[in-house]
Every structure is written in C-alpha cells, then in structure tokens.
Amino acid sequence: MNDRPAVSIQGVSKHFKAGVTALSGIDLDVRPQELISLIGPSGCGKSTLLRIIGDLIDPSEGVVEVNGKPASQARRDHDYGIVFQEAVLYDWRTVSKNIALPLELLRWSREKRTQRVNEMLRLVELEGFEDRRPWELSGGMQQRVAIARALSFDPSLLLMDEPFGALDEMTRERLNMELLRIWEASGSTIVFVTHSIAEAVFLSTRVVVMSPRPGQIADLVDVDLPYPRTAETREEPRFFELVTGVRERLAGRGAQVEPELLEDAT
C-alpha cells in the first residue's frame, strides 16, 4: 500500500452566486481503500464537496487531487465512478445495457463488456434481471444496478451521494451490508455522503462531521469497529458509543436541520 492519498483536498472553498458560501477551507486526505463518510445537516455542502472531488463543479478556491492528479484529469482518466441518490438509469436501456454504458464509452469490445457485465450482475446479486427495464425494478434493485454501473470499469474511487437516502430502512440496512461486501471485494476507495448517523458509523473507517454555513469540517471520527461488520455490529455497545459521539459532535456545533439554502443535495 502506498502513502499517497486517494483523494487530497487542500483549502477548498465554494461560493455560489448570491453570496452564499457552501464550503469554507476544507482540508482532507482520504487514504487508499478507505470508506469515508461525509455527514452533516442539509446545507453543509457535503454533496457539493463530493461533486468537487468528481470535477462535476469547480471549487472557488483550493485544490483537489485524485490519485495524485488534478481532479479534472482524474475524471478524464475514469478514475472514479459515481452513484447518486436517484439511480439515474436510462429507461431505454436494459439492466445489462445500463451497467455496460461506461464500458461502451470506454470502447470496450462486446465480449469484454458482456463478460464484465455478468461479473457485475453477480457482484450485486442481480443475475436473472439482466434483460429487465429499470422501471421494472424496486428502488433498492435500481440502486444496485447504479452501483454495478459505477464499478463496472474498475475505478479506484467510488463517490456515493446519499445513495440509499431514498430507500426504506430495511432495504437500506441490507444494502449497507452489501456495500461493505462489495467494498471488500473490489478494494476501492469510497467517499460516502449521508445524513444518517447510524449508516455512517456502520459503514465507515472514518466519519467526517460537517457543520453548515459555511460548510466546514467540524470533526473527524475514527470508527474502530472491526470488519467484517455484520447485523450484530449494530447491537454492540461500541457502535452505540460511536453513534452517540457523532451525534454530539453534530449537535455541538449547533447543527440543526434547516431548510436547504443550496440546491446541492437532491
């Protein structure tokens, strides 16, 4: 394992028009193969930060490097896959074709595409659904297709923007377990945006607690729960301690859920 961070964020700020400051002075290094969560109330800029890492929007100040390269170069090199809160599957494509979309753009041969799509279907346990249309799937299944698509071209980094936020609690917990399994199998680095404290603690190696207006890093919490984490993990005293810890840190900065000023979350 090398020492170079998977994602390096230095002095990043983001100002929107109308004088709103979404992010202010963010410094953060994400270690390779880490699963790091960004958590905070609405309007704290966590989705904005994720988009800056993905070079989907530009920071007003500061530098972001992914795998030692500028974020824009990393995007062009297909260094990351992204999963949004909505699955964003294309209706006119079957499940298989949706997963194959980035592979087509990368001009993989048909045989290679078919082979990889089958591997991904196995990984997210959607064998038998390859010819279904997105609208025929439940929300949880759609999100699994989106994850398969994001991982299909084997990016070293996975960006996830509240991927399970629109799902019910039971599906969400199941997909949390699955995500851990996929993360361990793929060996990728994951930056995970969520507003669920339990989800952040359960999944992550570290939790980045953010405070709003302007969006800043309030605290970094190391999650020392051992992997593999299971359903029992959620019942351990240490899990509750960590959840409480994160909650207090969120509250400590007077973070209350307020109406969103910035349309960056959903």
């Binding site: 989907l56 995007r75 964003v88 048909r110 346990e125 439940s138």
Partner: protein
C-alpha cells in the same frame, strides 16, 4: 435478495384485452358519429334548419349514399368509384410518404443542429417559425413551378410541399426531446468524460425518441394533407387532391362523390397515423440499442 419485489407493468394477456377494448371503442365512435349525422339531418329536414346551412340532400348526403357512391362507376361501363379511389389514394400516399420521410429527416437534422448551439437556436428559430405562418396555398404553386423548371417530376414537388408541413413539428419536438435529459443524466455522462458525440448518441437521441414519435404522429396526417393540397396547383389528376377539385365542380349534381373522397382521404390519413403508432410501439418497447 429474493425478498425484494419486482413490479411487472404489463402482461401480454392484459395487452390483448386492452387492444380489443380499443377496437370496440373505435367502432362505437363511428356508430355514434353516424347516428349524430343522420339524426341531425333528419331533425334539420323535419323542422327546416337553415342556419348555419340548409340541411338537405346536397349539403348533408346520407352516409349510406356516400358509401353507395363508392360502388357505382363514374362513367357508364367504367370501374366502380372505389377502384379509382384506391389508385388515387395510392398515388397520394406515395407523395405523402416521400414528403413524410423528407420532412422527418430535415426536421430531425435541424433539431440536432439547433440542440448544439444556442446561437443557432436564437438565429434560426424565428425563420423556421415564420416559414410555418406562410400559407401553404401560397407556397405550393411556387414550389411546383420552381422545381418544375428544374426538371423535377410534379409528384416529387408535391412531396416537397408535404415535407414543408411535416418538418416543423418534428424539428420542434425533437429539439425539445434532445434537451430533455435532466441535470443528473448529464452529470453521469460528464463523470464518464463523455464527448459531445457520445452525449448525443447515448443520451440525447434516445431520450428524444418519445418526443420524436409524438411529432411523427402529427406529421403523418400533415403529410397527407400537404400532398392533397399540393396536387391542386400542380394540376395533378392522378391523386385524391385532383379528384377533390374535380368532384367539387360537380358538387350540386353528385355531392356523395366528394364526400366519399373525403372518407378515403380520412382513411389514408388514419392509415399513416396508425403506421407511426405501430412503429412506435415496436421501437419504444425495444429501445434503440446503440451498440458501438
């Protein structure tokens, strides 16, 4: 993961029942129209309605008389009218189809062009709109004469007139469809560093297809109307437009024939519309596979 439910939207069986019900509705619609026509006529003749027009056999022939006219020969010893109508309809259909294809391609191409440049959109769109405010009756003779001097066969000129009516809805709707992908759809493509070409082929075009088809449905009937109208200044006698001009002159002695021709025109327009619906059903179900 078997516990996660899968919703199936339709099954073939339900589709078949649905189809039967639709056919039934169409038949019922025709029956209602027939009853209204004959009912109004009977009522109008009985009480002597003169407004907005006098109800009599000339202004409102019986529907069964119109249908009967189709079975009678035009001249003694000639073939029944329906046989002539069939040939006229085929001729007009040929013109309309070519016009539909030209208009569709021009409209789609124009939309792709406009979708790529705000500048073009601002500069070109007003002229495209203006083109549609010019009456087709004014444009048609110019097209026929103009293309005629260049040695273009008259029926092809008629197709150009039909295309003139067809391209506009296709261009407008396709443009809207090409611009329909949501910010997230575009962000996804951006995350893959997709170029403009891939963006067009993998996202904008497939997303535009439902819009394209609703435009093609409008254009299907418009192309038939364009062909019929276009035949008039071109003095084409082989199509439905020519027949309408002809029967118009003999309206007072045989109104059923004009009405019968109107029915054929409507049937032709409907056939064009139906063909588009059929293709749509086929294409949009099995969405386009843009395999590299």
């Amino acid at each position: 993961m078997a516990s996660i439910a899968v919703d199936r939207t339709t099954t073939p069986r339900i589709g078949a029942i649905h189809g039967l019900r639709r056919v039934g509705l169409v038949v019922a619609g025709i029956a209602v129209f027939w009853a209204l026509w004959e009912g109004y006529r009977w009522f109008g003749e009985t009480v002597g309605i003169t407004w907005p027009f006098t109800v009599d056999a000339t202004n409102m022939p019986h529907i069964h008389d119109m249908l009967h006219a189709l079975t009678e020969p035009l001249q003694p010893g000639g073939p029944p009218l329906i046989q002539l109508e069939w040939h006229w309809a085929l001729f007009t259909a040929k013109e309309a189809f070519l016009g539909f294809v030209i208009g569709g391609l021009v409209g789609f191409g124009l939309a792709v062009l406009l979708a790529h440049s705000v500048l073009l959109r601002r500069g070109l769109l007003p002229y495209i709109v203006v083109s549609q405010t010019v009456p087709i009756l004014a444009v048609a003779p110019m097209v026929v004469v103009g293309l005629g001097t260049k040695g273009v066969t008259p029926w092809v000129s008629v197709s150009v007139i039909a295309a003139y009516l067809t391209f506009f809805p296709v261009a407008m709707n396709t443009l809207r469809g090409l611009l329909s992908p949501k910010p997230r759809d575009l962000e996804l493509m951006r995350s893959y560093a997709a170029d403009r070409r891939s963006m067009l082929w993998k996202l904008r075009m497939p997303a535009s297809l439902p819009f394209v088809f609703s435009a093609l449905k409008i254009s299907a009937t418009a192309s038939v109307i364009g062909a019929i109208i276009g035949e008039t200044p071109a003095s084409i006698q082989d199509g439905l437009g020519g027949a309408i001009v002809n029967f118009n002159q003999y309206y007072s002695t045989g109104p059923e024939r004009l009405w019968a021709t109107n029915i054929i025109c409507a049937a032709l327009g409907f056939a064009f519309f139906g063909a588009v619906v059929l293709v749509e059903h086929f294409v949009l179900r099995r969405a386009p596979e843009h395999v590299v």
